[in-house]
C-alpha cells in the first residue's frame, strides 16, 4: 500500500515538475541567451543609470548580457558592431550613437542573421526592416508635450500667450534633437500661434554650453523672451544661471526642461523651472530587457515600443519623478 502511495505521489510530483518546466520554457526562453549591448559610456549620467539598470534587469531575466560602451563616437561603435558580429551572439541590442551613420553597420548585422533590437535612439523609421523592435523614448512626443507644458505655464502664470520663446537643443544633427525640436515647434504653432520662436542654439546636453548659448540669446532678445524650452533638465540648469545673471526672474517665465533629472526636480521644487517631461533611464532599460525577452519567447512585436512621457510640474513631481537608483 505504502509502495503504491509512494509511486503515485512520485508520479504526481514528476508530472507537476515537468509541467512547470514546460511552462517555464515557454516564458523563459531568454534564459542563457547571449546578448551584446552596444551603448554609451557612463560619462553621461543618464547612460550610467541605464547601464546599471540593464545589467541588473538582464541578470534577473537570466540573459547573459555583455555591455560594450563608447564615448559617443560613431566610428568606434561601428568597429564595436563588427566585433560583436564576429562573436555570433543570439541578439544585439544597440543604443545607436548616430542614427544615420550606423545604417551600414546595421545592414551587416542583418546580413549576419543576428537579430537587432534598438534602444534609446530611434533612427529613421523608413529603415525599420533592419531591426526587430525599437524600445525607448518617443522624442517627437516629448517635444510636443514640452510645448503643451509651455502653454500651460503661460496660462498658470497669467501671461498672455504672445511674445518670444527660445530653444536650447541637444547636439545638432542627432535624431533625438531633430525629433524633439520638430515636436515642440509644430505643437507650439498649433496651440499658441502668437508665440514666436526667436532663436535656437545647441546646448550639447551640457550645462556650461547651455549657459553660454542662453546668455547670448538673452543679450540679443532680452525682455522679449517669455519662455525657454531646454531639451534636458541639465541644460535648463544652464539657462537658469544665464537668466539670473541677465537680471531676469525665471519664476516669472515659462521654463520647460526634459527628463525628470535630479537637478530638474530641484529646480521645479524651487519654482525656477515650471515643468519637465519624464524620460526615465529605468523605464528605458526595463523596456529593452522586455523587448529581448519577448523576442526570445517568440512574441509578436511592434516595430516601436515607447516608454511613457508624462508631463511634470510642481503639482506631481514627487509622484512621477522617482529618484534614480544609486547602483
Amino acid at each position: 500500500m505504502k509502495q503504491t502511495l509512494r509511486t503515485a505521489l512520485g508520479t504526481l510530483l514528476t508530472g507537476s515538475l515537468l509541467a512547470l518546466a514546460g511552462a517555464a520554457s515557454a516564458e523563459g526562453a531568454q534564459e542563457g541567451k547571449k546578448v551584446i549591448f552596444l551603448g554609451a559610456d557612463d560619462i553621461c549620467e543618464y547612460c550610467a543609470v541605464y547601464n546599471g539598470q540593464i545589467r541588473k534587469l538582464a541578470a534577473a531575466a537570466g540573459i547573459d548580457l555583455e555591455v560594450v560602451t563608447n564615448k559617443f563616437d560613431a566610428a568606434q561603435q561601428a568597429t564595436q558592431i563588427d566585433q560583436a558580429i564576429a562573436k555570433k551572439p543570439d541578439a544585439i541590442l544597440l543604443w545607436t550613437i548616430d542614427g544615420t551613420a550606423l545604417f551600414p553597420s546595421m545592414r551587416k548585422v542583418k546580413r549576419a542573421g543576428i537579430p537587432l533590437l534598438l534602444t534609446d535612439v530611434q533612427p529613421d523609421q523608413k529603415m525599420d526592416d533592419l531591426w526587430v523592435q525599437y524600445s525607448g523614448g518617443n522624442y517627437e512626443e516629448q517635444g510636443a508635450k514640452a510645448a503643451q507644458l509651455m502653454v500651460k505655464a503661460f496660462d498658470d502664470k497669467g501671461m498672455e500667450k504672445k511674445g518670444g520663446v527660445i530653444l536650447i537643443t541637444g547636439i545638432i544633427g542627432q535624431a533625438q534633437t531633430i525629433s524633439m525640436t520638430k515636436g515642440f515647434t509644430e505643437t507650439l504653432a498649433k496651440l499658441a500661434p502668437d508665440l514666436t520662436i526667436l532663436g535656437s542654439q545647441p546646448g550639447n546636453w551640457d550645462t556650461g554650453t547651455s549657459t553660454q548659448a542662453a546668455a547670448g540669446l538673452f543679450t540679443k532678445y532680452g525682455d522679449q523672451i517669455k519662455g525657454v524650452y531646454a531639451a534636458e533638465d541639465i541644460m535648463m540648469q544652464g539657462v537658469l544661471i544665464a537668466a539670473e545673471r541677465a537680471g531676469m526672474d525665471p519664476t516669472k517665465m515659462a521654463m520647460i526642461g526634459g527628463g525628470c533629472e535630479p537637478v530638474g526636480i530641484q529646480n521645479i521644487k524651487s519654482g525656477k523651472q515650471y515643468g519637465t517631461v519624464l524620460q526615465s533611464p529605468v523605464d528605458e532599460a526595463t523596456y529593452a530587457v522586455q523587448s529581448l525577452t519577448d523576442y526570445f519567447n517568440g512574441k509578436e512585436m511592434a516595430k516601436s515600443h515607447y516608454v511613457p512621457h508624462p508631463m511634470v510640474t510642481a503639482a506631481n513631481v514627487d509622484q512621477v519623478c522617482k529618484p534614480w537608483p544609486k547602483d
Binding site: 559610456d41 557612463d42 560619462i43 553621461c44 549620467e45 547612460c47 550610467a48 543609470v49 547601464n51 546599471g52 545638432i172 526667436l198 532663436g199 542654439q201 545647441p202 550639447n204 546636453w205 551640457d206 550645462t207 556650461g208 554650453t209 549657459t211 553660454q212 548659448a213 546668455a215 547670448g216 540669446l217 538673452f218 543679450t219 540679443k220 532680452g222 541639465i234 540648469q237 544652464g238 544661471i241 544665464a242 539670473e244 545673471r245 541677465a246 537680471g247 533629472e261 535630479p262 537637478v263 530641484q266 534614480w324 544609486k326 547602483d327
Partner: protein
Amino acid sequence: MSTQSRSAPLPGPLSGLFAPARVQATVIQIATVAMFLLACLTVDNYATASNIASILYAASTVGIAAVGLASVTISGNLFALSLGSTAAFASIIYIQLSGLGVIGALLGSLALGVVFGLIQGIVVGLLRCNAIITTIAASSLIAGLATAFSGGRTVLATGGPSWLGNGAILPGIPWQAVIFLVVVVVAELLLQRSRTGWELRLRGTNPAAAELAGLRTRRVVVLSYVLAGAGAAMAGALIAAQSGTGNMRVGADLDFSAIAAMLVGGVAISGGRGRIIDVAAGTLFLAVLTNILLVNNFAYEVQLMIKGLAVLVAVTAGALLSRKKR
C-alpha cells in the same frame, strides 16, 4: 622718398610689438579689442554688464586651463590631452567638498590636479615617455577613476551656486575673472621673470642644448605638468561653482578650446616661444568671437565655420607675417 618710408623701421616700442616673434600676438590683441569695440557699437545690448560677465565667465575657465597648458607647450612637449578629464574629476571633487566652504573645496580640487599633473610630469620628464601618449593614457585613467568615484552620476551642491560661481566684484566683472587675472599675472611673472621660467623656455627652444648646459630641464618639465594639472582642475572647479553641479560632461571641450586659445594667442607649437599674456589674449579673442556669434543668433554650423576660419586665419597670418619680417 616713398621707398624710404616703406622700409623705415617702426619706432621703438612698436618695433618690439611687431617683431617676428611677437607679431601674431600683437595682431590678435588688436583684433580682440577692435572686435569688441565694433560689437559694442553695432550690436544692441552688447556692452551690458551681464553680457560682459558672460564673456568673462567663458574666458576665465578656458583661459586658466590654457595658461597651465601653455607651460607644457612652451617647455617643448606639445600638448597635454588630459585637461578635460582632470576638469571633470575636479568638478565632482569640488561639489563633494562644497561642505568645507569655497576655499576648502577649491584646494581639494587643486590638490587632485596637482597629483595627476605630477604623475604625468614624472612619466614624461623623468621617465622620458612620449608626452602625447602619456597624456592620452592619463586622460583615460582619470576619466575611469572619476566615473568609478562618482558612478557616472551628476553630483549636486546642496546650497546651489556659491559666490565663486555667480559673485561679481563689480557689475560685469565676476570673481572668476579676477582669479583669471591673478593666474595670468603670477604665471607671466613666473615664466618671464624667474630662473624657472627661463629654464622652461630654453628647454622648449632646444632641449638637448638646455640639458648640456646643465639646466634643470627634467624638473621644469615635471613642473609644467603640475601647472597644467592645476590649471585644468581649477577650470573644472570654477565650472562646477557656476552651476552647482559636477559631472563627467564638464570640460568635454576643454582640451580643444585651451589648445585653440593658446595657439591663436601666439604660443609656438614647437616650444620656447610665447607668453602667458598671449594666451590670455587668445582666450579673450575666441570668447569675444563666440559671444558675438551667439548674440547674433548665428546658426550653429555658421558659428563653427567662422570660428574655425578665424583660428586658421590667425595662425596663418602669424606664420606669414613672422616669415616676412625675418
